[in-house]
């Protein structure tokens, strides 16, 4: 299955899922922006939302770059949601979790499948990692994890030993208690929606099509109720 690379002697087995894939997040982000603009959307940067008010079925987002008013508002602000959600009566339990990733120089295409902890992008760079660390909003890196991640990649594929790292980074995930997405509409402020998940890249198609239709049409698709944050409410003991 991996004809272009030698697998290390320490690898004793592997599992395969035909649905696994790799999406280049930089290209995806650009594609989403272009699609959004082509449909007539306006993108305003440097507009931090500091308050959301609700009057006559209209929401006003007060931002550092002016106020914006609309009949619907979607909170898709990653960890910013924790501050914004209470303003529209939503409860969105999310927590930070750090992941560290290593990036190598670009080399010829050798990995035709994405593998947990070792992927090659279409541009030729390899990405190794990651970690799952519950240490708040610290997005630094540690030498011990960097070397462990690199060692693991070389155990998988010994030929990678001579490939040079060009950077490593840490970043904070947005995690819900069950790690699955939250798609919800406020009960007290109808028209206010939240969409958040880890794996927003994998779920991009669901976000761009299913979730976007749900928000635009206001009709909850049959299987969508499962994603409400109400699933985390513990029923009162009888």
């Amino acid at each position: 299955m991996l004809p272009n690379i030698r697998i290390g002697n320490e690898v004793v087995g592997a599992s395969f899922c035909p649905d696994d894939g790799h999406v280049n997040p930089l290209r995806l982000l650009r594609a989403l922006h272009r699609g959004f603009l082509r449909l007539g959307g306006q993108y305003r940067s440097c507009c931090e939302v500091v308050n959301i008010s609700h009057e006559y079925h209209r929401f006003t987002a007060e931002t550092s770059g002016g106020n914006f008013t609309a009949p619907k508002i979607v909170l898709a602000a990653g960890h910013g949601i924790s501050t914004l959600a209470p303003m529209v009566g939503l409860r969105v339990p999310i927590r930070p979790q750090r992941g560290q990733v290593l990036i190598t120089e670009r080399i010829e295409a050798r990995l035709n499948l994405p593998i947990t902890d070792v992927r090659q992008t279409d541009e030729g760079g390899l990405q190794f990692g990651t970690t799952e660390e519950d240490i708040g909003f610290n997005d630094g890196t540690t030498l011990i994890d960097t070397s462990r991640i690199a060692r693991r990649a070389v155990q998988f594929f010994p030929q990678l030993a001579s490939v040079r790292l060009v950077r490593n980074w840490g970043c904070v995930r947005v995690l819900t208690p069950d790690k699955c997405a939250i798609y919800d509409e406020s009960e007290s402020h109808p028209g206010a929606f939240v969409a958040t998940s880890h794996s927003g890249v994998t779920l991009a198609a669901a976000n761009a099509y299913r979730a976007a239709e749900w928000i635009a049409d206001g009709v909850t698709p049959p299987d969508f109720g499962t994603f409400s944050a109400r699933r985390f409410d513990v029923p009162a003991a009888a």
Binding site: I5, E105, R106, I107, E108, R110, G124, Q159, L160, S162, V163, R164
Partner: protein, 96 residues
Amino acid sequence: MFRRLHDAAKIAIEFEGRILQVAPHETVAAALLADGAEHTRTTPVTGAPRAPYCMMGVCFDCLMEIDGIPNRQACMTRVQDGMKVRRQDGVRRLEP
């Protein structure tokens, strides 16, 4: 096109088999530009010729094979006496 500001004592490096006299404080990229090198690599996708661009480590247009190690940033590498420098020709191959 480029001129050195000061004359300094020179050391020797080898660029594509040719001996160049360069100043010891220079980066490989600066030394080659001062020598009038036209291109220092070709791109992996189209094979277009490229030369150092940002001179500060961010654009990766200066990749070269330096002392046998491919894909090194010539603008981030100081020259050393006897250094052997070659163009990075397309994408880096992995050893068999």
